[in-house]
């Protein structure tokens, strides 16, 4: 990670380790700040390289009810299910936001989004690490005075890359739409049996559902003041307990250009030489 021209020169790991081990005999610093984080050491080092630090493991959870009977057959969107999903994400984010503000974080990175859909309730759990700059410049301030900061499902690594390019995450965006699977009448099915044709109604129904999930994602990005949404993940599929109900979801992190202009990163081209690691397998010698 540190370039070959690193000014510190090669580090004598042996003496570092010995020094570290000896330090256990010293009394711990009385006023050390105790952070908790689920970041790896690599991610922590990366954050430090741009003068940010992890503060605390924070979470947000919400359970929202879905009225009975909405999963039965019907037409078009399953409005209550879509509502419940949106509400659960919103409430969970709010809880996470409060925790982040409470520990003086500026935002949360590496947020894992865990959604469980049950017939009568939708559960959402968010978990991530609150982060903040170690030495905020006077010009910088927390993005939102009334809220904890941004929530982002980007890894700390992606967060660092974005910051270096002049961008900053502003929040988690979500769009979900549940629809009843479109149906064809028995007559139509028979008629189309031997044909290879487009099923226009079905196309429209599915297409619209997907577009409305995306539109919700965009609407939430706009409401957060985002200029774009990166790393959008889309998924879809039948609901586990109701195969005729289909879920479309899109999730991503809204971003905004903080610097005056995009900072180009000028990547270096590398050729890894460790593609095939030959494992020496002793047992294979017997054959």
């Amino acid at each position: 990670m540190s370039g070959p021209e690193s000014p510190a020169g090669p580090v004598d790991l042996k003496s570092q380790m010995a020094r570290a081990a000896a330090s256990l005999h010293d009394a711990p610093a009385p006023k050390a700040s105790a952070a908790t984080s689920d970041l790896s050491i690599d991610e922590t080092l990366l954050l430090h390289s741009i003068d940010w630090e992890p503060v605390e493991l924070v979470f947000g959870a919400a359970v929202v009810s879905v009225p009975g009977g909405v999963w039965n057959w019907g037409d078009g969107e399953i409005v209550q299910a879509s509502d419940a999903h949106a509400k659960a994400i919103e409430v969970a984010s709010l809880h996470m936001d409060r925790q982040c503000a409470h520990v003086h974080g500026w935002g949360v990175v590496g947020v894992s989004v865990d959604v469980a859909i049950h017939s009568h309730h939708i559960d959402v759990r968010l978990l991530g690490t609150a982060v903040r700059p170690t030495r905020p410049k006077p010009t910088e301030k927390r993005q939102f005075d009334n809220r904890g900061g941004f929530i982002s499902d980007l890894s700390a690594r992606d967060f660092v890359l974005l910051r270096q390019a002049g961008w900053a995450p502003v929040g988690l965006t979500f769009g979900t739409s549940f629809v009843y699977a479109p149906r064809r009448s028995a007559g139509t099915v028979l008629q189309q049996k031997g044909q290879n044709v487009e099923l226009a109604n079905l196309t429209t129904a599915m297409y619209s559902a997907r577009e409305s999930a995306m539109e919700r994602l965009q609407a939430s990005a706009l409401s957060l003041g985002g200029q774009g949404v990166v790393a959008v993940r889309v998924w879809e599929g039948p609901v586990s307990f109701a195969a005729h109900a289909i879920q479309f979801s899109a999730v991503g992190t809204a971003v905004r250009l903080e610097a005056d202009a995009h900072q180009y990163c000028q990547p270096q081209v590398v050729l890894p030489l460790d593609d095939s690691v030959v494992q020496f397998d002793a047992t294979s010698l017997r054959h």
Binding site: S6, S23, L24, H25, P67, V269
Partner: protein, 302 residues
């Protein structure tokens, strides 16, 4: 973590006194450790099998008929919910409660701590200063109430350094390059930290209605729309918070890195039970942070 009396089986004592070392490290990790002056002295492990029965708090048999606060321990999490309807009937559950199952948590902690202490004993026996590359598994044996805790790691000696204070080896889930980076960044591993939290939910009438899909009796009532099930939301938040608090209590002024969080839930006869575990590396700063240069992005040609 409290220590338990020495009870390593004779077999492992024999193994540990052998002149050759064994190590669970991968070759790159092994190479990195030698570079750091860490010499493996043996593969060490600790087991504990626990059985717990459900006759304390959290037992479905404990469910009372009134708004009765069941607290096994001072300061344990507990919240009660009162029926807003104001009518009484056999079918109508006019109160509900969320509470921390301190006995379940205590049993988990005891199991984990026992396995951990045995691992430390093995490591001490082998003359190790620390244990690296720890792997732990907690799994149910045969049925839900019997749980096996297993910890495995590689004991190491730090060359040119004194042994740990009180002879108690330090431990970490990290090994190899990751451990090297941690030390280079100015952190010394102290120990692993792990905790479990368990919250039992006894739903009251409102929660019960929602869980049955009857949020609002009439379609035109405002409750027919979706609504947050507050009792469950709060229980979810509580179980996460408790797991974090329990780990925090083990940290002192040290930092927790590389934590992993796992949550699960199951249905007991009294209602949903939410559980969470949190584990990570307790580390201590021993020198100021050497800030790296911001990394240069690369593109791989493969």
């Amino acid at each position: 973590m409290s220590s338990v009396p020495s009870d390593i089986p004779a077999e492992s004592e024999g193994r540990l006194s052998a002149p050759s070392f064994s190590s669970g490290l991968t070759v790159p990790d092994f190479a990195a450790c030698l570079q750091m002056g860490l010499e493996p002295v043996g593969l060490v492990q600790g087991y504990c099998v626990m059985k717990w029965s459900f006759y304390g708090a959290g037992s479905p048999y404990m469910r009372g008929m009134g708004a009765y606060q069941y607290n096994t321990q001072q300061g344990a999490y507990s919240e009660s919910y009162q029926c807003p309807h104001g009518y009484v009937g056999g079918e109508h559950i006019s109160w509900g409660q969320n509470f921390e199952q301190t006995m379940v948590e205590a049993a988990w902690t005891q199991g984990f701590t026992s396995a951990y202490s045995r691992l430390l004993e093995e490591a001490t026996e082998a003359g190790g200063h620390g244990v690296i590359g720890l792997v732990d598994t907690v799994r149910s044996l045969t049925d839900q109430a019997v749980v096996e805790f297993h910890l495995l790691g590689t004991a190491v000696v730090v060359s040119d350094a004194p042994g740990p204070p009180d002879g108690r080896p330090w431990t970490t889930y990290l090994a190899g390059q990751r451990l090297a980076k941690l030390v280079e960044a100015g952190f010394m591993p102290v120990s692993i930290a792990a905790s479990m939290a368990s919250v039992q939910v006894w739903p009251y009438c409102m929660t019960e209605y929602y869980l049955r899909g009857q949020g609002g009796t009439y379609r035109w009532s405002p409750q027919y729309a979706t609504s947050e099930i507050e009792q469950l939301s709060r229980a979810q938040m509580a179980v996460c918070r408790l797991a974090r608090e329990h780990v925090r209590a083990q940290l002192g002024t040290d930092t927790l890195y590389g934590a992993t969080f796992a949550a699960s839930d199951y249905e007991s006869s009294g209602g949903p039970v939410l559980e969470a575990t949190l584990r990570g590396n307790r580390v201590r700063r021993f020198k100021a942070f050497d800030r790296l240069d911001p990394p240069r992005p690369t593109v791989r040609l493969t």
